[in-house]
Symmetry: C2
Subunit: 230 residues, 2 copies
DNA sequence: CTGTTTTAGTGACGCTTCGTCAACTTCACC
DNA sequence: GGTGAAGTTGACGAAGCGTCACTAAAACAG
């Protein structure tokens, strides 16, 4: 869908070059405007106005505001999905599977923080979460990997659909919280999520002090890889 | 903000009665239209068209589509929050706290399925999740309850903020999946989430058969209240 | 019961955005 | 250089937005 190599592999031609350029221009403008105004308040005109192009041109590339928003998210999804797959495919234990998944995800979120924030930014206290087809496909991949791991005997024979949902829920919600902390650390978030999935609340890392202060930056006792319950 | 009882407590007066009636009419129409068209595709005009009222009247009650959508969600939030608080306040153990929270939540979602679906319904494969101030307040309550439980020694001294986020993430994501199953059962979802939080993946209920079939309705071995790890 | 005040409903209005499309420009190929 | 295809442009009609002067009627006062 990107470059039409039907005729000649080299010399993309001016037409194809400006086409790619325009698409990129519009996407960049959209990212910027979404981050500025939030998804709800942004109009297609706002995006085009942040561009030297005419309004009609927008519709040569995307059908609607919704579609360009999807495209932005799909880019992120396509970037992270292979990493997650690889991490899980080489896992030889439940620990590796779970901790690899969370670590990779939180590190990606932290590295692509700008996109992530742009996507979430919204008016007032309202957050919008959109699951595009590409993102949903990522969920399905996780479920397939879980089913394969169960078949291999790595995981006990549990409800893979619910387990996938639980992992996804924790991943997104913790990512949100992690970014909200001034010094949010992907490793810390991953350690928390991993410990939870391996040993439940009793296996979670303990804080040293600062009880009753929810927003404090937590120090945890390092309970190495193993999620032993107390 | 609701009823002006400044003068007389009884005989609400015709003015106040039609006011309440109109508000209710508009909210009912909105619920219906949101469920029909999805949030994104719905316009304020669609809502008032489903009503005998004039367009200007809408703005006497709500400032925008966003605000009425919030109002609908806040109604749900206000209905469930007291139940959750009570359930958690009387918990004498980690098990009771966790299982009470999830059971109450999933039962509510199943009972109010219509609202829940109306809120989620959207064009295509896109899901929108909005966290209104009332809903966020519910999250804060959960965190406070967790902090109180930690102070009481019920929970180990863990990161209450992350634990709250994890519970929220699992609750919403599992609820979504539960409704998607033709025979989704709140008790089953609650059992799954509770086991996960008490003992991690190794403590999850085991399926009897049907491996490799993600959409199958799961039968679990009943590992009673206690989330023992294998 | 009548006159006055206060409150809320109405729908037309000016404004913005939407998505389209005929005319025009630019590139590719002969 | 000429011709056709591809892509850009901005104006257009349709529709939604939020407002506001106007009207109806409930509440209140005498």
């Amino acid at each position: 869908m990107d470059t039409q190599l039907a005729r000649l592999p080299r010399t993309p031609g001016k037409r194809d070059r400006t086409k790619a350029q325009n698409r990129h221009t519009i996407l960049a403008a959209a990212r910027h405007v979404f981050a500025e105004l939030g998804y709800g308040a942004t109009t297609v005109r706002d995006i085009i106005r942040a561009t030297p192009l005419a309004s009609g041109t927008f519709y040569n590339y995307f059908r609607s505001k919704e579609e360009i928003f999807q495209a932005i998210q799909d880019e992120s999804a396509l970037r992270i999905r292979p990493r997650l797959r690889e991490e899980r495919s080489k896992a030889e234990s439940v620990e590796a599977f779970i901790s690899g998944t969370f670590r990779t995800f939180f590190e990606y979120v932290a590295s692509d923080e700008h996109s992530f924030r742009a996507i979430r930014r919204n008016t007032d206290a309202i957050r919008v979460r959109m699951d595009t087809p590409e993102i949903i496909a990522g969920f399905e991949e996780l479920r397939e990997d879980l089913e394969a791991a169960i078949a291999r005997g790595l995981f006990p024979p549990v409800d893979a659909d619910y387990l996938m949902a639980a992992i996804v829920g924790v991943a997104f919600e913790l990512a949100e919280r992690m970014l909200r902390r001034q010094c949010g650390d992907p490793a810390e978030a991953a350690a928390f999520a991993t410990a939870l999935f391996l040993g439940g609340v009793r296996g979670l890392p303990h804080l040293h002090a600062a009880l009753g202060n929810g927003d404090a930056l937590p120090q945890e006792t390092n309970q190495d890889d193993n999620g032993s319950v107390s």
